[in-house]
């Protein structure tokens, strides 16, 4: 059994500085995991909006076949920075924020294992995030080689300047990697060492399982990307030739470094969202999670498989036959543990008592979108089909369905679900539903047309295209603008509710979980008395209490 050390943590309280006023805490070097969690989330939303505006300009360019809105160099910079900031500025930080906020509460701990490391990891985010944005001001403009930054394109450096966009880009990506590794060390340690008495592995909520799985990927995968980025930086600025084919380097080697992390990175993003689905469906269907243990273990199977699929991004890169076939099969196998989860959620909802609040709507929409993207994913894993659609809009449609359709939907679900806990205020349900429908319609209109475009042979990353692609691009652009507008009711709802929403009770959704046994928002120390867990996490429909000393 895991033993925790709450005494050590409580002992720290006297030496910590007096608490600054409430709102100012969020701008300080706070070591409270809840403050850091919200800092991460709000910072991430800023970058989400920035990269979202880039996306709207990109779709504005693509609404007509000609390259007529911005110069091609500007277009290339925009799609590069859209992808980069969305991943490193929005996706990883917002997930780190949710994990930071929820994991200690869910496992009955008073804080993370290393609170100062936690704050340091967070404060790197606005730093490297601003590096991405400020790179628009250096001579030659920001990086224009796509978020893959494949050499030799990425090291051509036409400006001839030492301080160029690509240099800042690589530095910021490396810093982001360091920040994420720091976060991963902290989260894994917290989950392994700081669970409250009674919380064995198979009493942990699925969200904690999936966060653990995702952070293990960060630990084994990120060093490869960070090393690749540093070698590329040396090629760019210090005259080495690791990846320069003209001087004996191998550009394909960089692709291996890059995808060794960047494919598992997709699981870093989606595993916690699987956790969110697993938390939300039982609450709003009033039923236990179907097959809890299998769902928990399947996360770890996904982690293992995710380490051996990266070459499926390189089927057209001049890879040998054996590599293509091996990685095709390993990629396809991922659908088995993933399918187990999908079927478990469907069975959880089946025969339940569904309540379609905003969180549930987003979770259901995310589930449907995920099934769709999973099916196009299987098509992509098949080498012959991939050779046709590789690097076309089919891939763009597929991964936007994963990232927006499933992951962002899941994140919205999580924010609605835990908003009362985080702020102590209730949000406005009507605005939440409006937000859902705008998002769902926008997502469908924006990303479905990308699939026929890719099948017809439209390459990704183009600023101009043949007139035969005009119809679907027009629809996609309209969808993108609706998607852009969909954020407005969300922001209005969040800001207005936080400032002057009705007070939230401790447990507005009648949910089971340690976080719902404490006040909304929780006290600085989370738990006055460390809970002792005695039952499994999803006991809906029974009257079993969750803890020995706090009820539930």
């Amino acid at each position: 059994m895991t033993q925790i050390t709450p005494e050590i943590l409580t002992n720290k309280t006297p030496e910590s500085p007096p608490n600054p006023p409430n709102w100012l805490r969020y701008f300080s070097f706070s070591t409270d995991h809840k403050v850091i969690g919200i800092q991460y989330t709000v910072t991430a939303f800023f970058f989400f909006l920035v990269a979202g505006i880039f996306a709207m300009i990109i779709r504005g360019e693509l609404i007509t076949p000609e390259a007529d809105l911005v110069d091609r160099t500007v277009y290339n910079a925009l799609f590069t920075m859209h992808g980069t900031i969305m991943l490193f500025g929005w996706m990883f930080p917002v997930l780190a924020g949710l994990a930071n906020y929820l994991v200690p509460l869910m496992i009955g701990a008073r804080d993370m294992a290393f609170p100062r490391l936690n704050a340091a990891a967070f404060w790197m985010v606005p730093f490297f995030g601003m590096m991405f944005i400020l790179s628009f001001l250096v001579p030659g403009g920001p990086a224009q080689a796509g978020w893959w930054s494949y050499p030799p394109v990425s090291i051509q450096n036409p400006s001839g300047q030492w301080l160029n966009g690509e240099f800042l880009w690589l530095l910021a990506v490396a810093l982001s990697g360091v920040s994420s590794i720091m976060g991963a060390v902290n989260i894994v340690t917290t989950i392994v060492r700081m669970r409250c008495p009674g919380m064995g592995w198979f009493k942990m909520p699925i969200f904690v399982w999936t966060v653990l799985a995702a952070q293990i990927i960060q630990l084994f995968g990120l060093p490869a990307l960070t090393a690749g980025a540093i070698m590329l930086l040396c090629d760019l600025s210090f005259g080495t030739t690791f990846f320069d084919p003209a001087q004996g380097g191998d550009p394909v080697l960089f692709q291996h470094f890059f995808w060794f992390y960047s494919h598992p990175a997709v699981y870093v993003m989606i595993l916690p969202v699987f956790g969110i689905f697993s938390e939300i469906f039982p609450v709003y269907a009033r039923k236990p999670l179907f097959g809890y243990k299998v769902v928990a273990v399947s996360s770890l199977i996904i982690v293992a498989l995710s380490a051996v699929v990266w070459v499926h991004h390189m089927f057209a890169s001049g890879t040998p036959d054996w590599m293509r076939m091996l990685f095709m099969i390993s990629t396809m196998l991922i659908s088995v543990p993933t399918g187990i989860k999908v079927f478990a959620w469907v069975a959880t909802i089946w025969g339940g008592k569904l309540r379609l609040d905003s969180a549930m709507l987003f979770a259901l929409g995310g589930l449907i979108n995920f099934v769709f993207s999973g099916i196009t994913g299987i098509m992509l894993s098949s080498t012959p089909v991939d050779i046709h659609v590789n690097n076309t809009y089919f891939v763009v449609g597929h991964f936007h369905y994963v990232i927006y359709g499933a992951i962002v939907f899941g994140l919205y679900a999580a924010i609605y679900h835990w908003f009362p806990k985080m702020t102590g205020k209730m949000y406005y349900e009507g605005l939440g539903k409006l937000h859902f429908w705008l998002t769902f319609i926008g997502t469908s209109l924006n990303f479905i047309p990308m699939h026929p475009l890719g099948l017809m042979g439209m390459p990704r990353r183009v600023a101009s295209y043949d007139p035969e692609f005009a119809f679907w691009n027009f629809i996609a652009s309209i969808g993108a603008f609706i998607l852009g507008m969909s954020i407005i009711p969300f922001l209005v709802n969040m800001v207005a509710s936080w400032l002057s929403g009705p007070s939230a009770p401790d447990n507005p959704w009648r949910a089971i979980g340690l976080e719902w046994l404490v006040s909304s928002p929780p006290d600085v120390e989370n738990f006055e008395e460390i809970p002792i867990v005695i039952s499994e996490p999803y006991t809906y429909g029974t009257s079993e209490p969750l803890t020995e000393n706090m009820g539930g």
Partner: protein
């Protein structure tokens, strides 16, 4: 399970199956014309995946939609659902069936891949005798002895140039005789480019400093597009060329006519766009790699 439930399930499965097969057939129309042997093989595989995918998608989302429509809690209903925690049989079934489906898809994909036998440098490097033990091609046996169309493809930022060693001519339009296997040697002078003809469903990245062997068989006359599929910098989107597949006679005639022409500068979108940009000295643009000048070739459209 009651007999009526089983009957209902069978009826639903048959309906879903019929819809899925219909969509699977429809999926051929989502793709460009089938202009190569490879495209037929890939389209059949794709149609199969669409059929299977439609069945799974409709099955899962149909079940979810049924729950959403018929398992809603009433406004004042605060009760819980039945505390069902799992069902081992069901869980084994829904692990085993996807596993078998995956094997099926993998075997089908593998077979298709072997039939396509797309070539690439690694294989050529390690197996110099590859020709002798070549896998069965999809085209008739006599095709194997007929000589292949040999073309050298040169990719640079941002132009395609095709060299026909047979008559020693160059062109910015790719001409191919129909029903004869084409053997291309792909070369790049600067960065990685991608050789992609959607109507042929074939694609190969061109790694600089390497000769990439590449083969396919056009089977339908007509005009198609060749696009750069691997992002290659500023004028990446403009790096396209026409592909003309014609009868063997027309092809020979074209070769001979092109050989008579004196080489001249071919129009190039990247070069002309760049010249225009420099003329305007546009301020809303960043410095770029300068496009290669217009290629001097025997034939250009």
């Amino acid at each position: 399970m009651k007999f009526k439930t089983i009957l209902n399930l069978v009826a639903i499965a048959i309906t879903l199956g019929a819809i899925s097969i219909g969509i699977g057939q429809l999926s051929y129309s989502w793709l460009p014309p089938q202009a190569s042997v490879e495209s037929q093989l890939i389209d059949n595989l794709f149609s199969f995946l669409v059929t299977l995918g439609t069945f799974i998608f409709l099955g899962v989302t149909g079940t979810v939609m049924y729950s959403i429509l018929f398992h809603r809690a009433g406004r004042y209903d605060l009760s819980d659902g039945p505390p069902i925690e799992g069902n081992v049989t069901l869980e084994i079934v829904w692990t085993a069936i996807p596993f078998l489906l995956v094997l099926w898809i993998a075997v089908y994909s593998y077979q298709t891949y072997m039939e396509m036998s797309i070539r690439h440098p690694m294989e050529m490097a390690h197996m110099p005798m590859a020709k002798a033990i070549a896998p069965a091609y999809a085209e008739p046996m006599d095709e194997a002895v007929e000589p292949m169309t040999n073309i050298e493809v040169e990719a640079k930022q941002w132009a395609w140039v095709f060299h026909y060693p047979e008559k020693n001519i160059t062109s910015t339009e790719l001409h191919l005789p129909v029903d004869r296997r084409a053997h291309l040697i792909l070369r790049s002078l600067d960065v990685i480019h991608g050789f992609y003809i959607p109507a042929f469903r074939v694609k190969q990245d061109i790694i600089p400093q390497k000769n990439m062997d590449f083969e396919f068989t056009p089977i339908r006359t007509g005009k198609y597009r060749l696009r750069d599929s691997q992002y290659s910098g500023t004028y990446f989107a403009a790096m396209q060329a026409d592909v003309v597949v014609e009868s063997k006679e027309d092809y020979q005639q074209w070769l001979e006519e092109a050989a008579k022409r004196t080489p001249s500068a071919a129009p190039n979108e990247a070069a002309s766009e760049y010249a225009l940009r420099e003329e305007k000295s546009a301020e809303s643009a960043w410095v770029t790699v300068v496009p290669a000048s217009e290629p001097i070739v025997n034939y250009h459209p």
